[in-house]
């Protein structure tokens, strides 16, 4: 065993211990659903900063964004404006969502939708979409982990990498079961610290070894331009619309994912969320430099079959063996934190919304924590199966599709925070059309997330999720107008104006 492997194993075992110890944090009664699922809604500014940072900037992000830069050049940097505009949106919208959720005791977006529109079908649509979008996302965390295990030398064969993946996952499932959201919240401190250390060292050491940033950009431009399918370090005019819509659509989708909602609801006040919107951008700066490591890999002449291996290969080349171990541990632990939160988010949707009767929220029996815990285990097992049994490319396609799907609940969840003008039946129809449109566009472009729309002689290429949302909103608005003309009845709104203030 080399020193990188030893450090990786030691750090992973250390966070496993933390995961179990988290059960004792704050003297919580973990038999209560709110305590297990949302940490009792008591996290302050600092815990929330680490938790949301650890949740939104996943291991997969850290492998895939530089990999996309390495493979496709400047277009991949849409991740930067995406995370820049996401926070002003969270500042406005999620602080409002937090208030109504706290007042009325919601654990999920589907809880709110059910209360707001009195519609069980709409609640189910929102809950299923959340679960469907989350499963491949967890699977991708595992694939990111696997890329690192195979590169680090700790798992020399594919079989041993799978065995380690299963072992890490059983440990993850065990402490998620016992400690709930407190486990990833505590481990996030370790994860984020390791990620910051790794990236800071990388951007000090690697560009200077390559002759400075100016040289890195020049060399990257040369390599990208000389490829069979050339790209560049500055986006071309034809990429303006894809770039802007990818950033905008991704920002709208980011915070309606079940794992983001779970972390947001665990904050102790709306001000904790607002303050964090000014503090979380530090992670976006980190993301920018991580993405630039993709250019460093090009400038260093690193050639890999699979783009996801570019960054691990860069670390092996430039870091001493023991520090490569720290970097790999950062990625592996960086996969465990969001995977745990995603499993809890999906379990909350199952327990609160899917496995429920058609009665209104007020008449439903309290949620059994054991049910939610057991479902979290099943969700993790399901994601493990996806990661092992399906080819990685399929998991990536599935996750891209998940991003387009999750955006289709935007009108029912987010627009509904501001207005009840939309008819629930129209929202359901809009959602169905948006889901179908997203799936069709994605499949017809063989899983590109940019769809070329031909209008007359011009072609407008934009993010699939964005076009699907336009279809969704158009159907919802038209059908609301028609249903209102026909005076079709609506369900009861159980929320009151003061719940949002």
């Amino acid at each position: 065993m080399n020193s990188a492997s030893v450090i990786l194993v030691v750090l992973v075992l250390a966070v496993t211990a933390l995961g179990f110890l988290a059960a004792r944090w704050g003297g919580a009664n973990l038999r209560s659903f709110d305590e297990w699922a949302l940490g009792g809604r008591r996290f302050g500014t600092i815990v929330t900063w680490f938790l949301l940072g650890g949740d939104l900037y996943t291991a997969y992000t850290f492998i895939a964004v530089p990999a996309l830069v390495y493979g496709a050049g400047a277009i991949a940097f849409f991740a930067v404006p995406y995370t820049t505009i996401a926070y002003p949106l969270v500042f406005l919208i999620m602080a409002r969502f937090w208030k109504v959720a706290k007042r009325r005791g919601y654990a999920t977006t589907a809880d709110f939708v059910h209360d707001r529109f009195g519609s069980r079908p709409l609640e189910l649509a929102v809950a299923f979409t959340g679960v469907l979008a989350t499963m491949p996302y967890i699977a991708l965390q595992l694939i990111g982990m696997q890329a690192v295990l195979e590169r680090s030398g700790i798992a020399p064969t594919h079989g041993s990498a799978i065995a380690m993946l299963v072992a890490a996952f059983i440990l993850l499932a065990a402490y998620t079961y016992t400690s709930g959201l407190r486990a990833p919240a505590l481990i996030a401190f370790v994860k984020d610290t390791l990620i910051y250390v790794t990236v800071i060292v990388a951007i000090v050491v690697i560009p200077s070894a390559l002759g400075g940033w100016g040289h890195v950009f020049e060399a990257a431009q040369r390599v990208l331009a000389s490829r069979p399918k050339p790209s560049a370090i500055i986006i071309a005019p034809a990429q303006y619309l894809p770039y802007a819509t990818l950033a905008f659509g991704s920002a709208l989708a980011l915070f309606i994912y079940p794992h983001s909602v779970t972390s947001v609801l665990s904050a102790k006040s709306a001000d904790v969320i607002r303050r964090n919107c000014a503090l979380l951008p530090l992670y976006s700066i980190l993301l920018m430099f991580l993405a630039l490591l993709g250019y460093c890999a090009l400038a260093a002449g690193i050639v890999v079959n699979n783009n996801n291996a570019a960054i691990p290969a860069l670390f092996v080349r430039f870091f001493p063996n023991w520090f490569a171990g720290v970097a790999f541990a950062a990625v592996v632990i960086g996969a465990l934190v969001p995977a745990a939160i995603m499993a809890i988010g999906a379990a909350n949707l199952f327990a609160s919304n899917i496995l429920q009767t058609f009665r209104s929220r007020a008449e439903r029996p309290p949620i059994e924590t054991t049910t939610a815990r057991t479902i979290a285990l099943l969700v993790l097992a399901g994601a493990l199966c996806i990661a092992i049994l399906i080819r990685p490319e399929f998991a990536i396609d599935f996750q891209l599709l998940g991003g387009a799907w999750i955006l289709q609940i935007f009108p029912s969840v987010i627009l509904a925070l501001y207005t009840r003008w939309f008819h629930p039946t129209a929202l359901l129809a809009g959602w169905a059309c948006g889901m179908a449109a997203a799936t069709w566009m994605q499949v017809s472009t063989t899983y590109s997330n940019v769809f070329p729309l031909h209008i007359g002689n011009t072609t407008m290429s934009a993010y699939v999720a964005f076009y699907a949302l336009l279809v969704n909103v158009a159907v919802t608005v038209a059908l609301t107008a028609i249903l209102d003309l026909l005076k079709t009845g609506r369900g009861t709104d159980f929320t009151a104006a003061e719940d949002y203030a």
């Binding site: 002003p88 986006i235 000014a278």
Partner: protein
């Protein structure tokens, strides 16, 4: 209610980052970074500062 107007400042990051023709250029460079990169990096910081300002200005209204 006047302090609520500060919220409109949040529009600025959207305008600045969602119009790529504004910044999809090589020059002027800064520390070897093409304009495309340092402009977007700068806007991460500016957007955070704007959010903080809006937070301070609107917080006093509610409490």
């Amino acid at each position: 209610m006047k302090a609520r107007r500060w919220t409109w400042l949040l529009v600025l990051p959207f305008v600045a980052t969602l119009l790529p023709p504004l910044y999809a250029r090589h020059g002027p460079q800064l520390f070897g970074f093409p304009f495309f990169y340092w402009y977007q990096l700068l806007w991460i910081v500016l957007a955070a500062a704007i959010v903080w300002l809006v937070y301070l200005m609107t917080r006093s209204v509610e409490s």
